[in-house]
């Protein structure tokens, strides 16, 4: 729906329940830990694959296992979004994951120039010299 003005949105009655966001169900994975399997976790892997955090899809389907590949994807995601890099599906990470977003991938062809693609600036020299 396209409302020309915010005031043109109908006033819903009290029984109106807004539709759930497409990714709200992912919040059920909050607190899941590596090494275990969870029903539907493959959907979260599809999410990470879609946005480039899992570069290649398996030949068949993603499993529901919380494996090393998912942990790495989470760490990269956390770095890109300035979150604590834990590799865990903590509350802050999940709240960020379910937020509406642009459909363009963050990591393209395995590379990103968001935070995770940048070198640690603290280890680089402050200046350099050029010989003439």
């Amino acid at each position: 729906r396209l409302f020309p003005n915010v005031s043109s949105i109908p006033n819903w009655n009290s029984s109106h329940v807004p539709p759930a966001g497409a990714w709200n169900a992912y919040l059920n994975f909050t607190g899941c830990s590596r090494g275990k399997a969870y029903d539907g976790l493959s959907n979260l892997k599809i999410y990470f694959h879609y946005f480039g955090y899992i570069p290649t899809a398996p030949p068949s389907n993603f499993t529901d296992d919380f494996d090393d590949e998912l942990e790495e994807a989470i760490k990269t995601y956390q770095k890109n979004f300035n979150l604590n890099i834990t590799g865990e599906l903590d509350d802050a990470t999940m709240q960020q994951i379910v937020r509406p977003r642009c459909g363009v991938a963050d990591v393209i062809n395995g590379t990103t120039t968001m935070n995770s693609g940048k070198s640690n600036t603290t280890s680089t020299p402050k200046f350099h010299t050029v010989a003439h």
Binding site: L2, P4, C102, G103
Partner: protein, 191 residues
């Protein structure tokens, strides 16, 4: 700021890009005006200007609202989730998810539905992609990938401006404005 892989951009010497709306959407002037405003925000800081084309078929940038699988291999997913996507130069495709509750004008933070999405905020972001910018980790930047519902974020941040000026240079009339005076607002305080 970031660029797409290979740093694609519109050809050297491009001064104006044309845009057009999918005629099947039947958009009114209010909605078209929102996109016009979004284009102006980028034109103010760089060397490319934008004008509406009379023909959808020949426009550089083609804008349309679609739902679900709409033929480009990037299906939309319904309410919230993915809001829109646009392609890198010089593809020009700019698609928005028809199933969102888009708000064209007014204070979206006061919307009576929790999933209202500010159209101009998303348009400004996607135009960045159309010009060649990728996503940014700077939360204040327009090119940050996420935006909450009922949030307005339309002013280019320094990060966005620096990025686009690396690609195309600066508008000679651009003098810069303090970031503190910019208009970014949110109902939940998230920026």
């Amino acid at each position: 700021y970031s660029f797409f892989d290979g740093k694609p951009r519109w050809p050297e010497g491009t001064e104006e890009l044309t845009y057009a709306f999918d005629p099947d959407n039947g958009l009114d002037d209010t909605v078209k005006g929102v996109f016009s405003n979004a284009f102006k925000r980028w034109a103010e800081v760089t060397t490319i200007s934008f004008s509406e084309a009379s023909s959808y078929a020949v426009a550089d940038i083609r804008i349309g609202f679609y739902s679900g699988d709409h033929g480009d291999g990037e299906p939309f997913d319904g309410v919230l989730g993915t809001l829109a996507h646009a392609f890198s130069p010089t593809n020009g495709m700019f698609h928005l998810d028809q199933e969102e509750d888009w708000v064209a004008t007014g204070d979206v933070t006061q919307a009576s539905v929790s999933n209202a999405v500010d159209l101009e905020s998303v348009a400004v972001h996607e135009i960045g992609h159309l010009l060649g910018l990728g996503h940014s980790s700077v939360e204040e930047a327009i090119m940050y990938p996420t935006i909450s519902a009922k949030t307005r974020k339309v002013e280019l941040a320094d990060d966005d401006i620096e990025g686009i000026q690396v690609l195309y240079g600066s508008n000679p009339n651009y003098t810069g404005t303090p970031s503190t005076s910019r208009e970014n607002d949110s109902s939940d305080g998230v920026r």
